[in-house]
Structures are given as structure tokens and as C-alpha cells.
Symmetry: none
Subunit: 262 residues, 2 copies
């Protein structure tokens, strides 16, 4: 077997993932005649780029049931709940709020108090289910083809459905935040929908767990200047927050335990 260049190797790994539904680090190492270390590095990179999901012993393709929202819900749930507690206070009664898909927003939907009257619009079925529990919330579902990874409807139909609406507040999710506070997403259509929702909202709020700061996703969604409020955890890097604050964003730090604002 002729020696492969790095991108070739990663492409082959992707192909095998798609074809066989899984890859083992040891297999790949012997197949490509490289050390398992190298393979692990590849898999780590690919996972960071959203091309696969890292598991012990190898990797699995994204969205094979393992990336269900419910699964993501189970990781860092506690942290997301803390963010949600704070974010909920930013919602003014009787306003029209867009809930973007995402586990953090699911936590926010669950955290809504029972006496809060609201018109909620969402493209994520799981969020719609959570909202149905809230007696005073009218829920509008945005239809379209469901993106497994995003966990919500995206694409032309979803955009079309949004085009007749305006929101008082947009809760937009992000897959990664760069140094200047720029948001990015893993999916092309997902990114487009987020941009569209932002453009139709008078106020935009982003809630992000700390790990989002070390993830770079391929598709840009918005710069810091385009959203108004960022809710972060108390272990976020203050230097980076200051940069974003300088762009004109309000930053709310959700302290664990006592959820107080700054």
C-alpha cells in the first residue's frame, strides 16, 4: 500500500465510516500502516470538525441515533440548566420568542415558569414538546426537513415559514464561538436558518457553555455585533468575554449555585 497523505487518509476514514457505520482505531492503523496515535489524531480532528463522533476504540458517524437531542441533553445537563435559569429572566412576558434547536434551548424551554405567557416559535420538535407542558405558552412549530444533527427543521421550507414572522427575542444556538465572539454552525442549512431568524428579531440572545469557545465550526452565522446578549458560565475566559463586550454585547455570567447577573 502506497503511503497516503493526511487528507487522503482522512477521506478514506470518512468513506469507511459512511460505508460500514464505524471504524476501529487499531484497524485503521494497520490498514494505513501508521501508528494508532496518528489515527487517533485524525479522528480527534474529524470529530472537532463535526465529521464523526469519537468513541472509545474508534469512531462512529454523526447522527446515527447517538447524536439525538436527548443524548446531548444528558451531557452537561446541569451546566445547561444553570444557563437556562439566567436566560429565562431575559424573556419578557407576552413577547414572541424564537427558540432555535439545541439542547441548551431545550433546557430553557423546560425552565420557563408556568405563569409566563408567551408566543414561542421553534423549529425543534423536542423543544415544542417541552413547550407543550407550559400552560400559558402558545407554540408555533416551524416545519421542514429535520436535520438530525441540528435536531430541528432547516432548509427552504423552514425559511419560508419564518419569512412571515418577526420576533421580539431570538434564542439562537451556536456550535462554536471564535475569538471575536463570532458564531458558527456545523450545518450549512442550519447556519442559514439561524441567520434568517436573527435578521427577523429585535433582540438576539446567545447562551453558550464554555466548551463552545474552543470549537470552530465551518459555517459562520453571526458576528458579536449582531447579537445583543451572551449568557456564559462562570468559568469562561474573562479576556475573551471582554473582547466580546467591547463589540457591544451584554454579557451575563451564570454563576453555578447562585444564578446572579453582572
Amino acid at each position: 500500500m502506497t503511503e497516503l497523505m493526511l487528507p487522503e487518509r482522512q477521506n478514506r476514514i470518512r468513506a469507511r465510516l459512511a460505508q460500514e457505520g464505524r471504524v476501529l482505531a487499531a484497524d485503521l492503523a494497520s490498514e494505513f500502516s501508521v501508528s494508532e496515535d496518528t489515527i487517533r489524531r485524525d479522528l480527534r480532528e474529524m470529530a472537532a470538525a463535526g465529521l464523526c463522533e469519537r468513541v472509545y476504540g474508534g469512531a462512529l458517524p454523526v447522527g446515527l441515533g447517538n447524536t439525538s437531542l436527548r443524548q446531548r441533553m444528558s451531557v452537561a445537563m446541569e451546566r445547561k440548566r444553570v444557563l437556562a435559569q439566567v436566560a429565562v429572566r431575559q424573556i419578557v412576558p407576552r413577547s414572541v420568542v424564537f427558540f432555535d434547536a439545541g439542547s441548551t434551548h431545550l433546557a430553557i424551554a423546560e425552565a420557563l415558569p408556568d405563569d409566563l405567557a408567551l408566543t414561542a416559535v421553534t423549529n425543534a420538535p423536542a423543544i415544542a414538546v417541552a413547550l407543550a407542558e407550559k400552560p400559558r405558552v402558545d407554540t408555533v412549530l416551524v416545519g421542514g426537513l429535520i436535520d438530525r444533527v441540528a435536531g430541528g427543521a432547516v432548509g427552504a421550507r423552514a425559511i419560508e415559514a419564518l419569512s412571515g414572522m418577526r420576533f421580539d427575542l431570538c434564542l439562537v444556538g451556536t456550535c462554536g464561538i471564535d475569538g471575536e465572539g463570532g458564531l458558527s454552525a456545523f450545518g450549512y442549512e442550519d447556519a442559514a436558518l439561524k441567520q434568517f431568524a436573527i435578521a427577523r428579531s429585535s433582540r438576539v440572545l446567545v447562551a453558550a457553555t464554555t466548551e463552545k469557545f474552543s470549537i470552530a465550526a465551518p459555517y459562520a452565522v453571526a458576528k458579536a455585533a449582531q447579537y445583543h446578549c451572551l449568557v456564559v458560565e462562570d468559568d469562561a475566559d474573562p479576556a475573551r468575554l471582554q473582547i466580546i463586550r467591547n463589540e457591544g454585547c451584554d454579557i451575563i455570567v451564570a454563576a453555578r449555585g447562585a444564578a446572579s447577573a453582572a
Copy 2:
């Protein structure tokens, strides 16, 4: 059987849970060639993540987050699962299927086998969430204002979204069945949506628990001649079934215990 990685194993357990309604630790251990201890660990983790309910000897599925739907689920949960097992066999691979809102259809969505490829269209967020767990199902969400009672989107926007589609199979719910097999619904808009979906489907299947035969809902949806197949429980009144059969419907009786049919 090739050795499975941890997330794969847990996914399979989930699949079996959804499909068979329960799992036994001992069975899973021998099936996956791991110790029961490992299986118990899996089940414990899954239970902690809210993916199943731990019981002595194995685990049971846990309903989705929706309370009202969940309540309805738990009432006739077991009966609906039996209906679902039978109804699933009526779904031909690679077809386009409309799932009307309703707890019975939620049970059907959960009962879909993992290897069934399908395009599913639904107006119920809870069903969309269940479908998202199925790796080979493309899910299209029908948007609109959510009707709390029906548990799905209804009204003008939902109708509009449906108007560009045609279905190979329509799983339509009913609130009541009258003496001649006529279907009825509690909601005006809900009834309209059902009629619209039926009109756009080449085949229509109704799954109804026995209590539906003694309920009369205010809005008529369809007569027996308009649907092709009715799945009922084994305690349904044969005389009434015969009347409906005379209208030209196939009737499939789902026997409890042995869910075997042609």
C-alpha cells in the same frame, strides 16, 4: 457477531426497548457477548440519562417528555404497543408516510425497526422526536400552531405545508368510530387536517383501540370507504367489524401476546 462499541451497544438496547417494549439483562448479555454486569451498567447509565426505566431483571422504555401525551400513553400503553407492532408491518420500505398526531402513532413511530428506510411526515413534535431516533428515517415536520389537545400542528399553515405533498400511506388518528366505521375528531381544525391528509394519500390506515368504538366526537373526518385498512384489538365487537369490512376495509386484529398477523 462483531464486537460492538459501547455507544453502539446502548443504541441497540434502545432500539430493542422501543421495539419490544422491554429488555432483560440476561438476554442482552448473551446477545452482545458481554457480562451481565456490563449490561447493568449500560442500563443504569441509560436510566440516569432518562432513556429507560430500570426494573428488576432488565429495563422498560420511558415515555417522552410530554405529559398529556404521556398520560394517554401510560393508560393504554400496552394495548397501543400491540397495535403498533401490527401496524408497522403495513409500512412498505422507502415509502412516504404521514403520521398524524396521537399517542397510537407515537407508539408506531417508536416501534419502527432500525433498518426500515422511510420518509416520514408528521405534524406532531413528539412523533418527530421519536422518529429522530430511527437512523434510516427522513423526517419532515409540518409546521403551524400547535393544538394542545391534538398534540400537533393544525390550521392554515399546516394545511398549506401539506398541500405540496402526496403520501403512499397515511396513518390517521381518530377520536371516535361510529357504527358504520366513520371517523370523527374533537377539534375542528384537527378534523380538517386529517381530511386533507387522507385526500392526499394513496392508502389510509387507521389504528384504533377498542374504546374508540364507544366515543362519538363532534367533527366528522371520514367514512369507512375512505380508508383502506383498520387495525383493532382482539376485543373489538365482531359485528361492528363486519359492518366496516362490508364497506371495503381490510381489518387486521392485533392479538395480544402473540402479535402475529398476515
